[in-house]
């Protein structure tokens, strides 16, 4: 592991541009992704500009409270991501892990809100992907953004698991990393199913005992999974992951912040403007 604070994380004299190649690649990718989202946003706006007759009254469909909450959550996840990068640039692996876990948690809350929102729109507001042009452009745009968030969460989980790679190359790690990763995925899916089931139960005024009975498998899997993940997280052996890997976390952070800035635009253009 390198000594904390000895690496210049903003300049790399060994490349012709002075910029680490991973960072340069990520900025080039994000520039192209700007155009991708630009096309989706303009398509949505064009169809909102000339809504066909019979289009839904959008301000009666949206829930400004839920969307504002999602926006706040995503902004806070960006803060944690920035702190994760900052921690690793100082060689603080444990702090980096905590911030990565926080970012994953907030990312999952955002995704949970989106799943709830889509479910609510389809079943209670009768807004589907194919029954109106607004539905088509709205679900395509926000769904693509949601896919970006999901990919970001997956990347964060992989980085978190990677942070446990032992410094001693003779120690077996690959099998343990696979188990750690799949445990994370299974716990996440079970946890989200539990939370969404709980929200549905509260919405339908279903007794909690009945909810627990219907979701016993998901609740049990979540509890066991969280216990095992905590056990995995208490590894005290020296790890390879350190300040030299800050560029990897920073590149991932750039992607995560990009997802955040796209949502800043979507929140204003797609949601807030409908209330005028």
């Amino acid at each position: 592991m390198s000594h904390a604070g000895t690496i210049d994380h903003h300049h790399d004299a060994t490349t012709s541009t002075g910029i680490p190649n991973k960072k340069l690649f990520m900025w080039a990718f994000l520039a192209s992704d700007c155009m991708f989202f630009g096309a989706l946003i303009s398509t949505h706006l064009i169809y909102r500009l000339h809504s066909p007759p019979g289009s839904p009254v959008v301000s009666k469909i949206f829930s400004i409270e839920l969307t504002s909450f999602s926006t706040f959550i995503l902004l806070m996840s960006s803060l944690l991501m920035a702190l994760a990068v900052n921690s690793l640039q100082k060689g603080l692996v444990k702090s980096t892990r905590h911030n990565l876990l926080g970012t994953i948690f907030f990312g999952l809350i955002f995704l949970g809100c989106q799943v709830y929102e889509f479910n609510h729109f389809v079943h209670e507001k009768d807004l589907t992907l194919s029954n109106s042009i607004f539905g088509s452009t709205f679900y395509t745009l926000t769904g693509t953004h949601g896919c970006h968030v999901a990919i970001g969460v997956l990347w964060l989980v992989l980085m978190y698991v990677r942070s446990f790679k032992p410094a001693d190359p003779s120690r077996p790690w690959l099998a343990r990393a696979f188990v750690h990763f799949f445990l994370f995925v299974i716990t996440t899916v079970a946890g989200m199913a539990t939370v969404l089931g709980l929200v549905h139960a509260l919405h339908e005024h279903e007794p909690l005992v009945e909810f627990a009975g219907h979701n016993l498998l998901a609740i049990g899997t979540t509890i066991v999974g969280l216990t095992l993940l905590t056990w995995f997280g208490f590894s005290r052996q020296p790890v390879e992951f350190g300040e030299a890997n800050a560029i990897d976390v920073e590149s991932m952070g750039l992607y995560w912040h990009f997802v955040d800035i796209v949502w800043i635009v979507i929140f204003t253009v797609v949601y807030l403007l409908e209330y005028l």
């Binding site: 064009i46 000339h50 806070m76 750039l254 929140f267």
Partner: protein, 116 residues
């Protein structure tokens, strides 16, 4: 080649001192972003002229956007080429959005079904 394989000589100017902590800067930026988001939500319910509200929303979103890319994404501290590279894509995207909106916003582009 990335930072992992960089030679110590390449980092000589920074080898003796610690980087200043950005923790407080990041927390302050996050608070500002939250406050701006709150202001945006309140603005849409205020009885202002539509053009004024739209202008305010655009300005506030642009401020949030710039704060995230320059502070959280480190453009403020990185080489200016990263900013140029990203803004090439951003300007092209904004140009595309503006051109399409101008094109489809023209009177001749209004679909007959929408004009009815």
């Amino acid at each position: 080649m990335d930072a992992k394989t960089s030679t110590p000589a390449a980092h000589a100017p920074h080898a003796t001192g610690h980087h200043p902590s950005k923790f407080h800067t990041f927390v302050q930026i996050a608070m500002i972003l939250s406050v701006i988001t709150g202001i945006e939500i309140v603005i849409v319910y205020l009885p202002f002229a539509k053009w004024l509200v739209v202008s305010l929303l655009v300005v506030l979103s642009a401020v949030k956007f710039l704060l995230v890319i320059f502070y959280f994404m480190h453009l403020k501290w990185d080489k200016v080429f990263c900013t140029i590279l990203f803004f090439i894509g951003l300007v092209l995207a904004m140009g595309t959005v503006a051109a399409l909106l101008a094109l489809f916003g023209a009177e001749a582009s209004i679909p007959l079904s929408a004009a009815l």
